[in-house]
């Protein structure tokens, strides 16, 4: 009897001991810390990503936090339906969070670039992750409940939970986003979740009936998958690019014509075409005011019909539409996906003031040179904003032939402005463009301004008839950069930007591309 009762006693005491020896419980609280950190990181990732690509961070963070918290509650409620195999289910949940949370950032970037129902995916994913994370703590608490009395259990688990939240909210902005970027952060925390799952197969071994080999294999596969993701993070957003861009890539897409990348950082967002910066939202106003207004004031009478070649970002059109006399703007940009992005990508559409939605604006997705060969009504002004001439396909848009075709499309007295790359970094290329426009029969005045994201930037102002440089900026337009003084200052070229002897750029010599390549190569 004694023996039996003893063993019965021992049984009662020892089962919990061998299953969950007291010396292991502190390690279990470490689990709480890790999963709490991971959970908050996914929430922050989703919020940041949503405000990057959709803009309006207040709305986005508010929505994400709301959905996530609600999903946590849903998960907690669902945990009530789990009766048996708690440890096994806990590990399954960990692997589920690892996969969904770990792949969340790459998945969202990819779906944003390719899908129109991005928001459905975004909020669905946030809800799914939240639900799984919501299951974690209730399950863990139930696993621990036999060791600790309820008072101690609640205080410790919740304390570690909130410490994890603090760790996440400090790590995220200070270390993770600047050092790892959104994609790698997401993958790394997925690995941590899967690590918790794998580790728990030892930690909770006594609570798991049957073999754990299958679970361990699954956990290892998930970790391996995410680890490959970290190593290959470059190929997910188009790798190598992450290293190239200081900020996070929020949009990446290879269109028929070019690679479009939008990055988002503290200073706003940037558009890159084939790796070359097209604008930064922080200082693009300097560039676009300088590009557009001199040509608009040159027209003499109030311009009614304006032509924009290139400039699919819609920012030049935004400046043009500030003139009340405008009746029509024709924007010719090769890439339909670029002009669509300018319409539909909320931060860009906000930045260009929804210029491409304006009823006076007609968008033509054609090769500008081939389009120019066809006749049309004459234009009162033309704004030319092509990417820098770093390929033969772009170089042709800076040839005498091109400017002659343009000339045939202009009304008498029409002003033209042309972005001409940097007169400082690519002085020969800059003067090659200036001299080529002259050779096509225009009077040309080179000008420049400082655009911090670019450096010193160069333009040409041209008209068939000779002209004096504009000395007055348009008034009543709330320009942020140009006033009368700044307008006059545009046309002052310092000594180091002065003329150099160049060849004329023609279709049959493409001299400009060669100058440009040679000069920019020095800075690579």
């Amino acid at each position: 009897m004694r023996i039996e009762s003893m063993s019965a006693y021992e049984f009662v005491i020892r089962i919990p001991h061998s299953a969950m020896p007291m010396n292991r419980t502190p390690i279990l609280f470490l689990n709480v810390l890790v999963i709490a950190t991971c959970g908050l990181i996914y929430e922050l990732l989703a919020g940041t990503l949503a405000s990057y690509v959709l803009g309006d961070s207040v709305t986005q963070f508010s929505l994400i936090i709301g959905i996530y918290l609600f999903a946590l509650g849903a998960g907690a409620w669902l945990s009530g339906f789990i009766e048996t195999e708690l440890a096994r289910k806990f590990i399954d949940v960990e692997l589920g969070v690892a996969i969904l949370g770990g792949l969340s950032a790459p998945l969202l970037f990819l779906s944003f670039a390719h899908l129109s129902y991005f928001q459905v995916i975004l909020y669905g994913l946030v809800f799914a992750i939240g639900t799984l994370v919501g299951l974690e703590i209730p399950l863990l608490m139930r696993l621990l409940k036999d060791h600790l009395d309820f008072k101690e259990l609640v205080s410790r688990v919740l304390a570690f939970d909130y410490v994890g939240a603090l760790a996440a909210s400090l790590l995220f902005p200070l270390f993770l986003v600047p050092k790892l970027g959104l994609v790698r952060t997401s993958l790394v925390f997925g690995i941590l979740n899967a690590g918790v799952g794998l580790w728990s197969t030892w930690l909770m071994r006594p609570l798991i009936r049957g073999s754990v080999t299958g679970m361990r294999v699954r956990a290892v596969i998930v970790i391996a998958l995410l680890a490959i993701g970290v190593i290959k993070a470059d190929t997910l957003t188009s790798l190598a690019e992450d290293a190239m861009f200081a900020d996070d890539i929020v949009y990446a897409r290879t269109t028929h014509y070019q690679r479009i990348i939008v990055t988002r950082g503290r200073a706003g967002f940037q558009l890159f075409l084939n790796g070359n910066l097209q604008f930064s939202s922080a200082d693009e106003y300097r560039y676009h005011e300088a590009l557009v207004h001199p040509a608009m004031t040159l027209a003499g009478r109030a311009p009614r019909r304006v032509l924009v070649l290139g400039g699919g970002d819609g920012l030049a059109v935004r400046e043009i539409l500030k003139y009340p006399s405008i009746e029509s703007v024709t924007l010719v940009d090769l890439d339909e996906e670029m002009t669509n992005l300018s319409r539909r990508f909320p931060p860009l559409a906000e930045l260009n003031g929804r210029a491409l939605e304006d009823l006076r604006v007609r968008v033509v997705n054609r090769d500008a040179m081939i389009w120019l060969e066809e006749p049309s009504e004459p234009y009162d002004a033309a704004i030319i904003d092509f990417p820098d001439p770093n390929t033969f396909a772009l170089g042709k848009l800076y040839t005498t032939r091109f400017y002659r075709l343009l000339k045939a499309r202009l009304a008498p007295g029409a002003g033209v402005s042309i972005q001409c790359t940097s007169p400082l970094f690519a002085r020969t290329a800059f003067w090659c463009i200036i001299r080529t426009i002259e050779a096509a029969g225009f009077s040309v005045r080179p000008y420049q301004t400082a655009v911090p994201s670019f450096g010193v930037w160069g333009f040409a102002l041209a008209r068939v008839a000779p002209f004096d440089v504009p000395s007055r900026a348009p008034s009543n337009m709330h320009l942020r950069f140009l006033d009368d003084q700044a307008m006059s200052a545009l046309f002052v070229l310092s000594v180091d930007l002065g003329p150099v002897p160049v060849e004329i750029n023609r279709l049959d010599n493409q001299a400009l591309v060669r100058y440009y390549e040679a000069e920019w190569r020095r800075y690579e």
Binding site: M369, F392, K396, T400, R401, D508
Partner: protein
Amino acid sequence: MNDNQGKSKKAKVKASSLSRRELLAAFLGVPVALAACRSSAAPRFPEGRIVGASDAFGHRLRDGQRVEPPADAWQHVNVVIVGGGIAGLTAAWRLLKAGEEDFIVLELEPVPGGTSQSGSDSSIVPYPWGAHYLPAPMKENAALVELLDEMNVLEGRDADGEPIVAEQFLCRDPEERVFYKGRWYEGLYLHAGQNAVDVAQLAAFNREVDGWAAWRDRRGRRAFSIPIVTGSDDAEVTALDRITMDEWMKERGFNSPRLRWLVDYACRDDYGLTVEQTSAWAGLFYFASRMRVPGDEAQSLITWPEGNGHLVAHLYHKARTKVRLGLAASEIIPTGEGNGASVDVVALSSDGRNAVGFHAQKVIFAAPHFLTKYLIRPYRESAPPDVAEFQYGAWMVANLFLKDRPASVGFPLAWDNVLYESPSLGYVAATHQRGLDRGPTVFTYYYPLCDDDPRAARQRLLEADWKSWADVALTDLSRAHREIRSLTERLDVMRWGHAMIRPRPNFIWSGARRRAVEPFRSIHFAHTDLSGIALFEEAFDHGIRAAEEVSAAMAKN
């Protein structure tokens, strides 16, 4: 297959019955064939067909088929021009300028232009089937300058009076690139990896060429001039015609492989002959004739997406009402003597069903000279020995219609894209001159058959069917563009049996040419082969000359 000549018919093996490996080995070399046949999967083929060149009709005439037109199918006309290629269309253009309206142009093919014809059934861009550029003429070539003025290709004259070609008609940069060991390089001469010897030999070769560009005879004529009738016939120059280009290079110690490749490529490209087969005169002509003064860049090239088909279209448009397409001269019979001399021409529709006759005062024979022995009755009975001196190369030209551009390692797509290690001449991109830099395009692939015996070449050309030639072109191009088979949606093949006259040694200055230019009774001759080289300018010049001879002779009567 050269040694098949004269053996029994059984010994001849049809290219189309060769195994794929044998076929590719025969046309592209053994290593390529082995590599291409390594995979057991059946290669992919696009749709496509053999186009053009009505060789069946020609062979019927060669074999003696003649038809006599019914008495009421005869008509009188001042001049019959036989052949609607560049020479014949130019003669028509010149006659119209002289006010002569009573003439007719007979052309066997359903389209005008001969080897300058082009295709226009692609929705993307028209494309060439043969000749595809024209070097900008110098001011001395007044008739050609006049034509280009008429076509609005010129926008004026420079200070020296030289014509200025409008920018959009000059071949766009980048003009050429060459593929070597997995990478494309700019230009035709392979600079990458050259050593000091290569550099020195290239410089020495250029000095030789400069020397010939500067050379003038006692009458002030250039050594090499276009058209060649304006050049020198001084013994110092014509002596070059007695040796091959290969011998000329060896005499000067030019053994740099890449220099030899460049010269060999030039010979194959312009003449369909290897450096060992080409007359040194012709070889140097290629380099020195298009240079105004020593050290100058060669004259710029004028081109259009459809190549010289654009020039054909203009000339054809001018003479449209005079040109009978699908109607070929089958017999030319000079009659009468002295003031009563005239010439009868029997013409057959290309299906051989309808025959018509023309009583003409003059004939301009603007077809290849070898045809004289089949078409001119007295020649058929006893051809002058010179006729046999005119030998022609066989060419295969394929047009590949691509749904997108293949990727390129190294230098990007140019106009002319050459494979260093290939017996082909590479391809020309038709979209280049149109400025279509992306998306679908048409590649025109050129393959000259450089066999010593031109009949052997023709036999190889015609025995390979569409699938064989498509396989050759696609396998060759896949060295540089792995994805070419999946990008090619259609591939058409033209087999030119008599593509271009072959300037072997002792042909150009042997006297045969000079004698062949002389009129035979009322028949005047006009064709590029009378210059010994196939060039638009030569065909054009002979067309002008023959038309002027005819106009002058008729004015006298």
